[in-house]
């Protein structure tokens, strides 16, 4: 990056808004997926939409690729910098701009932390529903980019369900509004496409969210089974009985052991642990909870506990939410995977994963959002043992292939990012990817916004009217125009 460009960025952002010293810049070389690292040319920390817009205008003029970053907790490398590009960190844009309780809306900047949204409205008995496990540190902007889920999306939906409107700086530097405080704005559902686009379509600078009234009561049932298969049969029973719990989570024995070692959640030591949460009016929940209890017992549950107080519930959830980090207690290294299967394929894929584990000699712990078939297999390995990291990566990829074979997906909530882009062509056919690429070309014909992510190989957009401009990828010889 030229000294003139750096100077221009410094003028836009002020002395504290630009990071270009090699030591400081290294902080931004990766996100939550630490095995990919790229040092960017510069990092900017804007504190307003105006500054974001001015920075993006410079990037557009100079053809500099940029990557937006929230809290950097992403698990697929979505915020991995691009070589020669800049990182636009949005952590300083953390104002809550408007709270409208009668209409259950809240307007926030992208750097606001997920849990702070609930914190702001909790006194009025509202909450913000999407609850990724990282919710105490991850940002709304990052949630929007990844369409984050969480345990409660079975009932409440994903980030996209709760985003009503967006102010976005497009990759050419223009500022546009998608959706709004009211529903069904005229035109295409651009907000619907933007959410989950992993930073490839622009940068959200203002987000209108829906908040939800707290249910009258919440009850969490913990049931111990001998195996995940028995627990899975109980889940089928619950769904067949016409119930839609707020959350259904499952952990296998290895995951339970890790969670116990890490946070002492006091889980029963069993082969398959089920956590079922119901919420709603007390009379409704009481009636349904009795039914869930009965279904669990019929399917072999030998211990059932119902958390009554908020403190008991918090402890139950603490073990589950800490499950990824807890793997550090039982293994020096591990890969967090994020596949999805039709829920009924659970017993089959579990036995296949077990078989792979035996074949490779690598342990796999399993944590699932059992209600919606979202698996988080954790492949445990030791980097110090030659070849084990590669073997773990291969095993983890094989699990995703199994998910695709069963009609599922390579990612339920972590995103494709850098990590899984090569898997996209296994899940989608070429015309499918080409069609998604048309969206990319409408938003970002020069492909400056988080290029190199999501899609398996670089591809150019058709000729855009006006002067021919060679794309950086084209110049570098890694993409061709067609």
């Amino acid at each position: 990056m030229s000294p003139e460009t750096l100077e221009e960025l410094r003028r836009i952002l002020g002395p504290h808004g630009l990071i270009s010293s090699p030591e400081e810049i290294k902080t931004y070389e990766c996100d939550g997926l630490t095995n990919f690292r790229v040092v960017p040319s510069a990092v900017v920390l804007p504190d307003s939409a105006d500054q974001v817009q001015a920075v993006v205008c410079v990037c557009h003029r100079e053809r500099i690729p940029f990557v937006a970053r929230g809290s950097g907790t992403g698990l697929s490398g979505g915020a991995l910098p691009v070589k020669g590009g800049i990182v636009i960190g949005l952590a300083r844009m953390k104002r809550i701009l408007e709270v409208d309780l009668p209409n259950a809306r809240i307007v926030v900047e992208p750097g606001v932390i997920n849990l702070e949204v609930t914190g702001r409205v909790a006194a009025a008995d509202f909450f913000y529903a999407p609850d990724p496990s990282s919710q105490s540190v991850c940002s709304i902007g990052g949630n929007v980019a990844e369409n984050s889920g969480g345990a409660h999306c079975l009932k409440y939906g994903f980030t996209t369900t709760h985003v009503l409107g967006l102010e976005v700086v497009l990759p050419d530097g223009s500022l546009v509004h998608m959706g709004g405080k009211t529903l069904d704005a005229p035109g295409y559902d651009l907000a619907g496409v933007f959410v989950g686009s992993e930073g490839t379509l622009g940068i959200a600078t203002k987000i209108t969210l829906r908040i939800v009234k707290r249910p009258e009561c919440v009850r969490t049932l913990l049931a111990a089974f001998n195996s995940p298969t028995e627990a899975g049969a109980a889940v089928s029973g619950i769904i067949a009985a016409g119930m839609l719990p707020a959350a259904i989570e499952m952990m296998d024995n290895l995951a339970i052991q890790a969670a116990e070692a890490a946070v002492h959640a006091n889980y029963p030591n069993c082969g398959g642990l089920l956590l079922v949460e119901l919420d709603g009016p007390v009379a409704e929940v009481d009636a349904l909870m009795a039914h869930v209890d009965q279904i669990c017992r019929q399917n072999g549950a030998w211990e059932i506990r119902v958390a009554q107080s908020d403190a008991e519930r918090a402890l139950v959830w603490k073990g589950r939410k800490a499950a990824f980090a807890a793997m550090g207690r039982i293994s020096p290294n591990y890969i967090v995977q994020d596949g999805v299967i039709p829920r009924t394929a659970l017993p089959q894929i579990l036995s296949e994963i077990e078989q792979l584990s035996i074949e490779t000699g690598l342990r796999v712990a399993n944590v699932f959002h059992a209600g919606d078939g979202n698996l988080h297999p954790l492949v445990l390995y030791d980097r110090r043992i030659a070849g084990q990291e590669k073997a773990a990566e291969k095993l983890s990829e094989r699990i995703l292939e199994l998910c695709i074979e069963k009609g599922g997906s390579i990612t339920g909530e972590h995103g494709v990012g850098e990590e899984k882009k090569h898997m996209m062509s296994k899940m989608f056919a070429e015309p499918d990817l080409q069609t998604m690429h048309r969206v990319r070309c409408a938003f970002d014909p020069l492909q400056l916004s988080n290029p190199t992510k999501v899609f398996p190989r670089p591809r150019m957009c058709g000729e855009t009217p006006g002067e021919y401009v060679a794309h950086p990828l084209e110049i570098a010889g890694i993409a061709e125009r067609f």
Binding site: D100, L101, P102, R105, N147, F158, T160, S174, L175, V176, H177, M178, K181, T182, L183, D184, P186, G187, Y188, D189, L190, G192, V193, V195, G196, S197, K213, P215, E216, A240, G242, P281, E284, A287, V340, I341, P342, R343, T344, H369, G373, N374, G408, S409, I410, G412, V416, M427, F428, A429, P431, D432, Q434, T435, M436, R438, V439, R440, C441, A442
Partner: protein
């Protein structure tokens, strides 16, 4: 494949996606405009097309391909009527949780293209929240799938949402995958007669603000507020007790949820959007209307449509005309209109599909 004529356009009814693709490809190559259609109940929505050479009906593609009831999903072809789909799903005690207009005739493809859900949206979200996969045939014959058949999936761009509400201007929807919900164990409709518009507004906000789990709320003329409760008998009774504290309740008829259909007659029908807290203010402009608690209203209106639209837009909402009128059907699409045009250009550069029917001349 020709099956007749529609206002001078040739009607074609392809049997599958490949036939759909070849019809579109040839129309696209020869400069013919294509109007996609399902049950034909909303063909007059949007602006009149600038050109209409072929009416492409998806009615022959009407199978329920897979009801994976244990996974709470269904894969269905675009020409299946909503009523037929619901009958199939009910065999396993499930439903697609939407209540669109004219379900006996309206099709899956049609309600998606026009984004027509109903009062159930309060509890279950709109079609955008229920669709998890889509197959689109583009104007150049490309057959593209997006999303999938699992409820939770963030791989690739969310084209099911882009297709929903795009009025057939980006591609022909041939297949969709939805997430499903269980049929309710019991349902009860309550009607509250508010004393005036202010009281009606108070009642709506009180119900939305209470810690209840109501399924639908709507307002009708005479300040009547309908509430739909679903669940266990105990749960419904407990919620009814809370609602009785809010207003004077009488047992309502399930037929009130069809009130939206009854608006259609001679007068132009508008769909308007407002904030839940502005429902009573919005209702003042109409004598026959249904307004859902999500802030979406439908009404008959004879008068200055443009003036009414400006009032709604100034209040942060919007107003679309559903059917023939002498004003633009859509109103102001805001500063994202150039981006919408760019999306259209990428998907349908020759403007083969529904030319001119959508916002901003798209």
């Amino acid at each position: 494949m020709s099956a007749g004529e529609w206002f001078g356009a040739t009607v074609v009814e392809p049997a599958d996606e490949n036939e759909t693709a070849s019809i579109l490809r040839s129309a696209n190559d020869t400069g013919q405009a294509v109007i996609p259609a399902g049950g034909g109940t909303k063909l007059d929505w949007g602006n009149p097309p600038r050109k209409a050479d072929i009416l492409l009906s998806v009615r022959r593609m009407n199978r329920v391909i897979e009801h994976a009831w244990a996974d709470l999903t269904v894969t269905v072809e675009a020409g299946c009527t909503i009523a037929e789909l619901q009958r199939t799903l009910a065999e396993h005690g499930q439903r697609l949780a939407v209540d669109p207009l004219w379900p006996e005739r309206a099709t899956v493809g049609g309600i998606l293209a026009t984004n027509d859900s109903g009062a159930l949206r309060l509890a279950f979200g709109a079609l955008r929240d229920l669709i998890i996969g889509v197959t689109l045939v583009l104007a150049d014959g490309t057959i593209a799938m997006s999303g999938g058949k699992v409820v939770k999936n963030v791989a690739g761009y969310d084209l099911p949402k882009l297709a929903t509400g795009s009025l057939g201007t980006l591609g022909v929807i041939t297949r969709a995958v939805f997430r499903l919900h269980p049929l309710p164990r019991n349902a009860r409709t309550l009607t509250i007669a508010a004393t005036d518009a202010n009281d009606m507004q108070r009642i709506i906000l009180a119900i939305l603000g209470a810690r209840l789990a109501v399924t639908a709320v709507q307002v009708r003329p005479g300040n009547e507020v309908d509430v739909l409760l679903e669940g266990t008998e105990d749960g419904i009774a407990a919620q009814e007790a809370v609602i009785r504290e809010i207003g004077t309740v009488r047992e309502g008829s399930p037929a009130v949820w069809k009130a939206r259909e009854e608006l259609w007659g001679d007068a132009p029908i508008v769909k308007f959007t407002t904030l839940p807290s502005r429902i009573s203010a919005a209702s003042a402009a109409f004598s026959r209307f249904v307004i859902q608690a999500t802030g979406i209203g439908y009404a008959q209106f004879r008068g200055d449509l443009q003036g009414l639209r400006e009032t709604m837009e100034q209040d942060g909402g919007s107003l679309a005309v559903l059917g023939k009128s002498d004003v633009d059907a859509w109103g102001n699409a805001g500063d994202a209109l150039p981006l919408m045009r760019a999306v259209k250009t990428q998907f349908d550069p020759k403007k083969t599909l529904n030319p001119g029917r959508f916002v901003g001349g798209i």
